[in-house]
Amino acid sequence: MAPIQDTGPGVSSVLLFLLGLLLIASPFSAWWMSIGAPWYTAWVLWGLLIGLSVLLSLRLGHYDT
């Protein structure tokens, strides 16, 4: 079986960007805005994105910068 090639932090960041779009710029965002979600929902989702960015940056630290 071929070894899994390390794709580097670039691919991870693009995936995280796509997740960000899903959370805040998609029908999903329109949905949570329309169901009367708590006022801090946007900040919770934002915090989630930041948390994942922390993990990504820890990984980025292992690569050339």
Binding site: S12, S13, F17, D64, T65
Partner: protein, 987 residues
């Protein structure tokens, strides 16, 4: 509650003076480095993004547009999520090529001064109203605090102080690329001030209006229309468009670009900022909805844009009110300072210097500093002028979004810069002009002139409502921009320099430098640059580049000079912009296009580039890189000194073994000529490289007063591409010192073994004269001899004693010859040497039956070590004796000289023994190969003959001829004796 204007003014001025102090003590390095160079300071300095629009205007924006206000920060977060693929490559470019602004970046990529000019004009158009907005916010906030009608005086003095701060701490260095530690520290402090003030105001607001968070949630539950007012505009409004604008603004706004890239001291700090800065914005914005809702309850009587101040005043706390006010001052001053710094750099590099140019007869650094200061004053003055004419109709958000849309016009360009090498300057400029035209006519002009040019096209303009029009303006401007960018790029062709810059921006390997530089040393760099920059500036720039590259002033290696040239260009780029820098360097530090640079000379450059981009190689490229490393490691790990010499005689490879042999490190030699190396290696390798021989055996070199022996070999490296250029050469250096010492030990052992074998003969040979002496002594004792007879007997005794002495001396000389000492060569008479060898050999009883016929003429002189040559013949005669042992006829060994050609004698030792069998003949010179019975031979005799003759520069040929073995020794004649030898030969 209101505050006195005098108090407000004093506090504001005092606060600005505090910023001066922070910047000053940071620049003086009175604060510890761990604090000033902390990534937290970098992250907080990025908070310059939050201007008065964010600080004051967000509440008004949230009131009008609900959650849409959050897009301005969420868009930035999305940009920072893409740090590895978006921000880090830009940082790498700006750091490597000393690019100080976004205009520099595009001018560098498209190799176009026009691109820099267009970007600078767009930035100026977008930022000047934004600066005016900050001044207006300061004036209006003062009005809110004091309820006085005319805060213009305070606004004026605010502008003066901020201008002073910008000039003092923003124009300290000639190059804006130099880090402004003091300024960064002050901006970070201001961000902290904004955050703390806003969170405090929000806390007080929640406590005063609702009695706590629980109360606020209960209030929201009881008044669901407020929650709906938060969400409804976001569901229906320009949510995505605003995200796009904020995405672009997050790193393309001049102040953001400056703080993110120009002031970055460590790429790792950007890594921290990728999450730290969004976290800062999250904390900042978390305060906005509570302040808005608290204002609904408390009704502070201020416009929504200034609820932050209204609530703090309503709290009755002067301290909180002043803190909130200073938060606003922080937001405004930070924005003006950093934006001015960034804009002045662009203006100078792309609007002033290309037309004014450096004046060689003037102090370049002083002129640049003053020009930068003047531009700074002009920029802030223009912002103040805008403030004076700006209609205070639109909210704080309006002009901010106008600025954001201007920055967004750079998005297609930045995508092309990073990911599309086919993009051309024509496409970029066309796209920028097209998008900017839509921006001007849809959002910039309508609020100022009431223009509605775009209305007839069916496009909304800013007059029809804020900020909904940004949905269409963003789409149409970016769409037109992108289409023009792509179409014109595809229709035009990039020139060579543009392609090279595109490759650099995509982190591909740019073209390698071809040809040598006309300037052959750093001093010549100075001389050539002085005609453009002035002698003093040229010297300082070259000196700085020499220091940064770790070179010396006597550097002459072409590859290092190429690196120095690139470094000089980068440093000038940081000072005057990339286009002007390239022009200066291209003009003054030209390449010699006639000379060709060997591929091998660029090996180090290529390897350096591969090392820096190693982790980014994928697939086949990664496999090839692994293969390259493997092959390089083979050369590096070879226990043989390897150095490669490119055409032109410059060293391009120097492996670890040769570095250890010579005690010269690789970094000291690569790129140098062989004869530039220190003695003894430089002269030795250079003369070997020039010689027409491929091998030099056993070269003796004295290092640390100890002799060492090396063999040198060389081979031509053929060019795999079969180009017309000359071939390179690889030199191998083999350390034979250990082998030589071992061989000397073996030779000594062999001599001792020979003496052992001769022992019986020696005893016999000494026994005969001893017997004779005994007889003579007996005759003296027993017979009464007369005086004459006594004298004769004494003479006989002496003769016999001399005979014994000769035998002993021969043995001693033979035993001690060549043990660990290399004597200088001396003239050796071959005939006498052969006689000596015959004497020694015939000490053996077996040899006495052999007739040795020395037919060598007298005065055949060679250069060498007499004892070693004696050993050669002793070994040959011993072998011949053994070969003749079973001979029925008379055993005979002839020694004759066959011929002489040029400088050579050929001496033949021919026996009439049984010869050597064909299968042994091929290996007879190898050690331990013997046909004798066990215990009768070591197999080292002939190898020793071979080694000694080779050391004397001669050759050995062994063959079966005429029923016996014929050994031919070719020995080099003593130069001065050559003619004599020939005469003898013919005589």
């Amino acid at each position: 509650m209101t505050l006195d204007l005098g108090v407000i003014s004093a506090v504001a001025v005092g606060y600005l003076l505090l910023l001066f102090l922070i910047a000053y003590i940071t620049d003086r390095q009175w604060l510890p480095t761990w604090l000033t160079r902390n990534p937290l300071v970098y992250v907080l300095s990025l908070g310059v993004y939050a201007t008065t629009w964010s600080y004051y205007g967000s509440v008004g924006f949230a009131k009008e547009q609900g959650l849409n206000f959050l897009t301005i920060y969420l868009g930035v977060t999305l940009a920072f999520v893409l740090t590895p693929v978006l921000l880090m490559p830009i940082l790498r470019l700006t750091r490597t090529y000393q690019l100080t602004s976004v205009a520099d970046l595009f001018a560098f990529r498209f190799n176009s001064q026009m691109a820099g000019i267009v970007v600078t004009l767009l930035m100026l158009a977008g930022v000047l109203p934004y600066i005016a907005l900050q001044i207006r916010a300061v004036a209006e906030s003062t009005q809110v605090m004091t309820r006085e009608a005319s805060p213009d005086v305070l606004a004026f003095w605010f502008v003066v102080l901020v201008t002073g701060f910008t000039i003092i701490f923003g124009a300290r260095h000639v190059s804006p690329r130099e880090h402004h530690d003091g300024l960064v520290a002050a901006i970070a402090f201001e961000s902290l001030m904004k955050l703390v003030a806003l969170l405090l105001v929000a806390g007080v607001a929640i406590w005063q209006a609702f009695g706590g968070l629980g109360g606020m949630h209960a209030w929201l539950a009881a008044n669901p229309e407020h929650l709906e007012a938060l969400y409804a505009p976001a569901r229906e409004g320009p949510w995505v468009s605003l995200l796009v604008l904020a995405f672009a603004a997050g790193f393309l706004l001049p102040r953001q670009f400056h703080m993110l890239f120009a002031e970055n001291q460590n790429p790792g700090h950007l890594n921290v900022a990728s999450w730290g800065f969004p976290l800062f914005l999250l904390a900042l914005t978390l305060a906005i909805p509570p302040i808005l809702w608290a204002a609904e309850v408390l009704q502070p009587g201020t416009p929504a844009d200034y609820h932050v101040l209204g609530i703090s005043l309503a709290s009755g706390s002067t301290t909180l009110a002043l803190l909130a006010y200073l938060g606003g001052i922080s937001a405004a001053s930070a924005m003006i300072v950093v934006s001015t710094l960034a804009i002045s750099s662009m203006t100078l590099n792309h609007l002033v210097l290309p037309f004014a140019g450096p004046q060689p007869h003037r102090d370049l650094y002083g002129a640049l500093r003053w020009a930068r200061r003047i531009v700074m004053v002009a920029v802030i003055a223009a912002g103040y002028g805008f403030y004076q004419i700006l209609e205070p109709t639109s909210g704080l958000v309006g002009w901010g979004l106008i600025s954001f849309l201007a920055m967004a016009q750079l998005l297609p360009g930045i995508i092309g810069l990073l990911f599309w090498p086919r993009a051309t300057s024509g496409g970029f400029i066309a796209g920028l002009l097209g998008g900017s035209a839509v921006w001007v006519f849809t959002v910039l002009l309508p609020p100022v002139t009431g223009d509605s040019t775009m209305a007839w096209l069916g496009l909304a303009s800013a007059g029809e409502g804020q900020p909904a029009i940004y949905q269409s303006a963003t789409f149409w401007s970016l769409a037109l921009n992108s289409v023009l960018f792509v179409v014109i790029s595809l229709l035009s062709r990039p020139d060579e320099r543009e392609r090279e810059a595109a490759a650099v921006c995509r982190d591909l390997n740019p073209t390698l430098p071809v040809g040598d530089l006309h300037a052959r040393s750093p001093q010549q760099f100075v001389k050539r640059l002085a005609s453009v920059m002035g002698k003093s500036a040229a010297h300082k720039e070259v000196e700085k580049a020499v220091r940064e590259r770790g070179l010396h002033w006597d550097e002459t290696r072409p590859t290092h000079l190429h690196g120095l040239r690139a470094q000089v260009e980068r440093n000038i780029s940081g000072m005057m912009g990339p286009v002007l820098a390239r022009m200066i360097v291209d003009e003054r530090l030209q390449m010699d296009t006639q000379s060709r640079t060997a591929l091998a000379q660029n090996v180090r450059l290529i390897e350096d580039r591969l090392e820096t981009s190693r982790t980014r190689l994928r697939g086949l490229a990664a496999e090839l890189d692994r293969l390259r490393r493997y092959h390089r490691q083979i050369i590096e790990d070879l226990p043989l000194g390897v150095c490669a010499v490119a055409q032109g005689g410059r060293l391009v490879r120097w492996n670890a073994a040769i570095a250890e042999l010579t005690q010269i490190s690789m970094s000291d030699v690569v790129g140098r000529h062989l004869d530039e190396l220190p003695a003894p290696w430089g002269p030795l390798l250079a003369s070997f490289h020039k010689s027409d021989q491929d091998h030099w055996h056993r070269q003796e070199i004295h290092t640390d007063d100890q002799p060492r022996w090396y063999s040198l070999h060389k081979a031509t490296i053929e060019d795999p591409a079969n180009s017309n250029r000359g071939d390179d050469t690889v030199l191998l250096v083999e350390d034979l010192t250990d082998v030589s010492l071992l061989e000397q030990e073996l030779a000594h052992s062999e001599r001792l073994a020979s003496i052992g074998r001769l022992a019986a003969g020696v005893a016999h040979e000494i026994g005969n004269p001893v017997t004779g002496i005994c007889c003579l002594a007996q005759e003296l004792r027993d017979d009464h001899t007369d005086a004459e007879r006594t004298a004769a007997i004494a003479e006989d005794v002496l003769t016999q004693a001399q005979r014994i002495n000769n035998i002993v001396q021969s043995l001693v000389r033979y035993a001690h010859g060549g043990v660990g000492n290399q004597r200088p060569p001396e003239p050796v008479d071959l005939a006498q040497t052969v006689d000596e060898a015959i004497r020694l050999t015939t000490l053996s009883r077996r040899a006495r039956v052999v007739r040795f016929d020395n037919q060598l003429p007298q005065n055949v002189i060679v250069s060498g070590d007499p004892q070693q040559l004696v050993q050669v013949f002793v070994n040959l005669f011993s072998n011949a004796t053994d070969a003749c042992a079973d001979q029925i006829d008379e055993a005979r060994v002839e020694i004759l000289q066959t011929r002489q050609e040029d400088d050579w004698f050929a001496v033949v030792v021919h026996d009439n023994g049984g010869g050597i069998s064909a299968d042994v003949l091929d290996h007879v010179l190898e050690p331990f190969v013997t046909t004798k019975r066990p215990g009768h031979g070591t197999g080292l005799g002939l190898p020793l003959v071979y080694n000694i003759v080779r050391e004397h520069g001669g050759e050995v040929l062994i063959e079966n001829r005429g029923g016996g073995t014929r050994v031919t020794l070719r020995l080099r004649a003593m130069p001065a004796q050559k003619d004599d030898g020939m005469a003898l030969d013919h005589g």
